[in-house]
Symmetry: D2
Subunit: 365 residues, 4 copies
């Protein structure tokens, strides 16, 4: 497998399995001179850490990050930054159940088909723990975006069919409830629903929304490396994501040109759009307005209900997935979405620096 | 702008503007020994050619393709295949209207922001004509898939809110109606709706669906280069696409683990899935069942209604977009979707060949 | 074959065979706003055109370049630039001699081994004509370097063992003699030697040297993408090159630290080196002094003498290569070396723009 | 800095500084099913470990490697392999001398020019310790080559002007003398010379030669990704390498077509070459004969003699480099050359698998 690297100029390479010794990421192409500490990265990782509410796996992990290279005297040096988290709670489980069978909704079968065998301990490379590397890299990307005035806000927009009320949108609320919703009331309703489904040994899905403010206009490329194309890849590369929308998304299919087009007007001497159906991206390039995207997350496939499947001997069997599993993966995936968006935007901003000869000339003078 | 290349091993690089001398593509990494003719490629291009029905632009183009390299005595040689289409009808238009203003829903503004100026003739690089290169490359990719037993079927699933009736699904029908729908009745209703909207000087959008049969299991990579992630990028890189779904797509957000999980069972000695909510991809790798995806296409932004916008001098103005524009872009985009899927699958199949040492060893013996 | 693309940000993709319809290049990642004309590119191509002296092939080609995309109103638009040269004199030859045998020193055998068959007309993709695309791209890269104050000078340093006398070095002389040597006297001696070898139906090799002035310090990367590593690849990717040196090259093997190290000193308030054994690159990054490199070119393999080889039927045979072949390839390769150096430097200069956060911040303010 | 990744399909990404916490490499794209242990990798690392003879730095490092991911039950899983070596002896030194001055022959000045500041401890990222990652990856690549019947042999061919006598060539001898020479006598003479130069507080350079047997014909690409081009980049990316030769290398410049061309003949029913001036590569593709290459290594720049340079305040100063430095870097670089060749060959072998449609079809049947 190649395919563990994302980005062209700002490049991240993740590695590690759910129950291996450690997981991590190498961030290559990070500019020199950015102040970064293990605390900066830890604060991102803590948002995806297990065991934070009754709705997440009770696996006991500190997920304590170590910076092994690329930072000197508190600042990035321009050389690759190696970040690592040792797995702590990785010997306890009994994998005999999943070692020989193909769990529905999981990658067990496809791994065996591709590689001939697999590290069957807790999902191996397809575990949600793989996102540790993404989030650690996202923390660094966010540091860069901060300095360029770009702000990302991600949250659960809908879980188990219960959506937020935009009239009550409160960004401060997001980190205060276990659902990472900007609407306390919706979060409360989701919690009730979640408890109900947990008692039924079932799991639920949802939608994560992400908004980006402060992105300069003209970033992204017009053909294959459209900003939205790279964001779509970034989103769909997150396990459990099955759909991606930019701006109005699938609603455009039922829309008309007269209503979908965003007009332009002059406001305080600046060109602004009069609406934002496009979600801040036109022709693959940012248009200066807010970038909006959504990702649909499927229900956690690990459920304790009886499911029909087959084992490696080609026998029809029934299984109940035991162990510590999140009944909802959506809240913990919020910071993963935010991180992948951050990494994608930084790469696009860097790529964009060579689009005009006059600016290149000015740079080198 | 880098960003005109797609694929890692099977690599396509498109070039050309709407009203430049020519448009084309270089296909690098195509294996030797594939029989290919200009007719093979032409038959793909004809499906996206303008002027085929009253619902498409009346621009007069033959879009006749020439193979300039990489094919010898009727077979690919393994060296890059250069394909070119000369623009014929490219001097007639008067661009003074769009040269100085920013059309709503188009990339005029973002091009100017990125590059400082733009080729304003007919959309330049952001024109739908850029897809000529993609479709020409798609014709070659499809030849490869044919030999490997992989079949792609794409069609309009819904236009202007009118969806196909799967009970009446008839693949033979797709190329027979101007809407490229597998349901003659739905196509008829869409035509009525389209005429109505054209009379209102408006445009409509829709959804393209694509199904892939015969894909071997285990193709795709588990992390960033997930098969669905690369398909999502491929789809979103097509101008006017604002949303992408794999399998059940956004519906998973309201689903439960107990209903969304696809079970496995033995059938005639083979492992098969008992349902296909996942759309044929698990953990980023094909699972041997049908791959299904959908792309949402926005209404054509060029409409003859009066729209508010600004010009390059920063003045608020009103414009009516004249000229030859498709009121619906969906039908002509069907072959573009099919082509991008083909290119993505070929690259994934090639990448997959080095996943197991035993198979590599067998290859070199 | 992938492998027809060179560069990461400033990317060139060449295509075309010796006796196909045309040859060309797509230059992707070229910034917008550079004035470029077909004449600019033609002047580069003319330096590698056949038939310019009695020492080069008498094949009759104008090698007239056409710009097909990416340039609008005389300036680059930032979109891919497609450049094409139609082959004119490509139907005349009789290839029956080489179609079935493996010419010594050529790629006939390796092509057949890799691809199963080959375009045997005049060397196909391995022909020197492939460099048309490189040189056309090099003309554009040189335009960029001009604007950044970087100047490249390439010339034949030695042919058939006859080297230039640096005491008589005259840059003006290079384009005046058929050997592209900066020393008229050496060029004269080489011409005599070349005539002698031609009469013996033999061919000769030589060394091309290249010097780069005005390169800012700090360009290039410290590990795999060292500036010298990418230059070495660029040089060795030219057919017939068998050795590459940076600075003192192989002479360092016999040198000592005390003599090989270049000291630093202050001069007019600037840090300068007191010598330049390193050839302007330290640790993979330019050090602000002149970059110097050399490439060794093997004698043209096509010779009219009788040679022993085998045919595709596995029979030992003798052949004499007929046709129009350069007895010396070195002079025509000078502009190829210059072009590949130009492309490599532009890519390194562009990559370098994201090495420091303070400069990125300044760029976006 | 991007630029810490090498390879396209078999991809290695190194990270780490001389005196940071650790150094390592992520190997992505390694096939599943290869038996690999920490011992396998350790045996490679031990060949570059410091302190093995009086001619190498006395820095005290075990360089004990840990496999953190990608290996399960003793076999590679196909997922990225993360390898790490903790720095042990990294707190002892006093860096005040080099923190503020630019050592001749080192990358201190270019690092500061590129990044604005640098990790000045022991060379930071430009330290020879960066090669730990390369060698660890090389151990894995060599495992793959073993299974494909490809054997690499590297050794010191010449040090301080003293070359090996090919008549006495003894491969067994290489690992027995501190010079890694296949000629005990030459090694003895070099040792004498080295002692002499060490007493003069000076350092010496040399040439490493590498031969590859068993490479199938047709591997490598005909244009930019020529096998020799990628090998040249691999060699020149090693710190201290200033020249690279394939086959006869620079000697071809004085050669003639009649003597440089390698003839073909039938031998036991197989096509073989009658000589090997080309060094096993024709037109960028392996020709089935032995691949030969050479890299010139400059003398260690760290010498205890007084040298003139400048400090960061722009003052002319004199320095004597103290500390534990190798007077000859050549012997320890032998395994680095071997490793980079191994990594390059594996990537080329993998890339080659998609060159023919008939073989792809057979693979998928």
């Amino acid at each position: 497998m190649a395919g563990s690297t994302f980005g062209n100029i700002f490049k991240i390479t993740t590695w590690g399995e759910s129950h291996g010794k450690a997981l991590g990421v190498v961030v290559d192409g990070c500019p020199a001179g950015i102040e970064i500490s293990e605390e900066d990265i830890q604060s991102f990782l803590n948002r995806r850490k297990p065991g934070q509410s009754s709705f997440t796996t009770q696996r006991n992990e500190d997920d304590k990050v170590e910076i092994l290279s690329g930072v000197f005297e508190g600042k990035t040096t321009g050389t690759p930054i190696s970040l690592l988290v040792f797995n702590k709670d990785h010997h306890s489980a009994d994998y005999s159940q999943i070692a020989n069978c193909y769990r529905p909704g999981h990658a067990d079968y496809t791994f065996d088909q591709k590689y001939g065998f697999r590290d069957y301990r807790g999902g191996g490379r397809s575990s949600g723990r793989e996102t540790i590397g993404r989030v650690a890299a996202g923390a660094i990307a966010s540091k860069i975006l901060d300095q360029l005035g770009v702000k990302i806000l991600a949250y659960s927009q809908e879980i188990a069919g219960i959506g937020i009320d935009y009239a009550k949108f409160d960004a401060e609320e997001i980190l205060k409830n276990p659902m990472y919703m900007p609407d306390a009331n919706a979060a409360e309703m989701v919690s009730e629903k979640a408890k109900e489904k947990m008692s039924e040994m079932d799991s639920i899905g949802g939608i994560i929304e992400c908004k980006v403010a402060g992105m300069p206009a003209g970033v992204g490329d017009p053909v294959f490396d459209k900003l939205d194309a790279n964001l779509a890849k970034a989103m769909m590369s997150i396990g459990a994501v099955k759909g991606v929308e930019i701006g109005d998304g699938f609603a455009v299919a039922k829309s008309f040109g007269s209503t979908d087009n965003d007009g332009f007007e002059m406001k305080d001497g600046e060109i602004v759009k009069t609406s934002n159906h496009a979600g801040g991206i036109l022709g693959g390039m940012s248009d200066g307005s807010e970038i909006t995207l959504r990702a649909a997350i499927k229900p956690t496939p690990s459920i304790a209900q009886t499911q029909k499947t087959v084992n490696k001997n080609g026998e029809n069997i029934e299984i109940k997935i035991k162990g510590r599993h999140d009944p909802i993966i959506v809240p913990r995936a919020v910071v993963v979405v935010e991180s992948m968006v951050a990494v994608t935007l930084v790469d696009a901003l860097f790529t964009n620096m060579t689009s005009r000869m006059d600016k290149i000339k000015a740079f080198y003078q």
